[in-house]
Point group: C2
Chain length 339, copies 2
Amino acid sequence: MTVTIYDVAREANVSMATVSRVVNGSQNVKPSTRKKVLEVIERLEYRPNAVARGLASKKTTTVGVIIPDISNNIYAEAARGIEDIATMYRYNIILANSDQKEEKELSLLDTMLGKQVDGIVMMSDAVTPKLLQTMENSPVPIVLAGSIDESKKLPSVNIDYFQATYEAIKMLIDNGHKRIAFISGPLSYTINAKYKLEAYKKALQDAGLEVDEALIVAEDDSYDGGMEAWKELNEIENPPTAYFAGSDELAIGIIHAAQDHGIKVPEDIEVISFENSKLARMVRPQLTSVVLPLYEIGAVSMRLLTKFLNKEEVKDQNVILPYRIEKRDSVKVKSMKNK
Amino acid sequence: MTVTIYDVAREANVSMATVSRVVNGSQNVKPSTRKKVLEVIERLEYRPNAVARGLASKKTTTVGVIIPDISNNIYAEAARGIEDIATMYRYNIILANSDQKEEKELSLLDTMLGKQVDGIVMMSDAVTPKLLQTMENSPVPIVLAGSIDESKKLPSVNIDYFQATYEAIKMLIDNGHKRIAFISGPLSYTINAKYKLEAYKKALQDAGLEVDEALIVAEDDSYDGGMEAWKELNEIENPPTAYFAGSDELAIGIIHAAQDHGIKVPEDIEVISFENSKLARMVRPQLTSVVLPLYEIGAVSMRLLTKFLNKEEVKDQNVILPYRIEKRDSVKVKSMKNK
DNA sequence: TTGAAAGCGCTAACAT
DNA sequence: ATGTTAGCGCTTTCAA
């Protein structure tokens, strides 16, 4: 019932090897026989069986993608970048959500390797020792996208989270703020948040400002988390006048909570975000935000993976992408610097 | 180098068949030999090769998922629903973006079938005749998620777009509006938009209201598209006092465009949306919106697919899920009805 | 330029 | 309860 390479060979009066050659675009086929074979393929509607091919060639032209949660815009954006480049190099993608659970990440890694993927792109906010070890032992290359393995044993693509955050905090300090809050998702959760926090503290210290632990709050990385954080911070004695938010949703939550209480942004408080999703323009005031190039992180990760798959030379396996800060309306522009 | 079922068999002094049996959890294995085999598997770190298994068994336990664009929240949400249920039934997913291009959809279908997926979940806003035909000829089951094939030849999961829109427009009419705008993405593009438009017209007619083509505008289905639409509609002689938006982004664009011109929502104009993503709560005023249950559409589609894969009986292959309207602040609550 | 044949690693009868 | 064996549909030497 299903037509195989054997059927084509028989109908075309050639061997399976020849059919295989034309299907795979080998040059060593006489044009006339190629034409003949192609005709039979068309007539029989032959479709090569990739599974059989994978077994014989030990290549599946599919790569695994493990991300925390595809319904989260951050990861979806990166996934799109991964997929676009994968398509460009003729790979397909097996996509799975880990919900950032080590156990799931581990088992996903295992099933994907079982499925003989040619490589894996992994996004994980917590590259635990165990995870790292199993990834190191992987028979196929794995690249980390937007995820940091401090040992740098695995290839990765990131931006400089420390530097980016430092610059963001600096903007707030330059605008005269002394009480700057740091809001992020769960710290134990997000290794990147660790770098952000370090940068926050360093920037404060460099400016001779006190680091007040009461101003550091880790909520759910969500809109409601942002609202909660604002409320929490406005119950303390000396509330902050500026906020660094680890994501756009957090920032919008903070802004709305403030506005709901009659506080004006950026007149009364200023807010800077870290993400710059399309949401950043969909609030009033529009968000000033560190630009996290998710799509590029995904795309470059996949490109890096293809280099390993093609055995191309890789100069630096730990890529740092440039970032910038998009200045909009949630942080005032300093008039002095303007003139 | 890679350890195969044969290696395990040899080490455990049993046949390949026995190893296969314990790997696949067959009951016909003596506990003691099962234990012995399991130990060897562990010691050798044997991992079954799913590709070989797929070739031999003609089942890959992977399903294809074709969606327009994973970076679009609508589809990402649905994809999460699909993946969750797939995981529950031990399927993996090959995910690919079609960008809603027929050509890509067709070629994706082809490569996925080539990869021997066991089934496919397809999201397409335009099930063209050609597409429909190739899907009908698929050797494996295909279910349409949130996509309408008017012939009903293919299994599908949807809500009643007509009914939902009718009710939304009715709310606006009941609030006294005579000039109601209909904003959607490109009509030629979105078959669902067709139903929405029909419902819009019907609701107007049923209320004895004139259908003014000038009030029907199809922009990009985006925030900017919404802003554009508002501007366009406010250049005509008799601008609308209420808006039906085909998506949350569109609605927010409309609202912000209006607010930027000093117009108040819902005091001056009212807006109802169709989607209810998390964005709906992240604007002021919060969006009144028809709830499009994307996650459920994805989940139910995948569940439906598993029924075909398990040869379970399927009573109705065209599932219509319930919807509701979430009432928030972009539409006034009628005080008369309230009391 | 083409063909023959040996696998790839596993499942699934069929035997025993 | 366990073993034997014939494929699954293709790629890949190796020969010719």
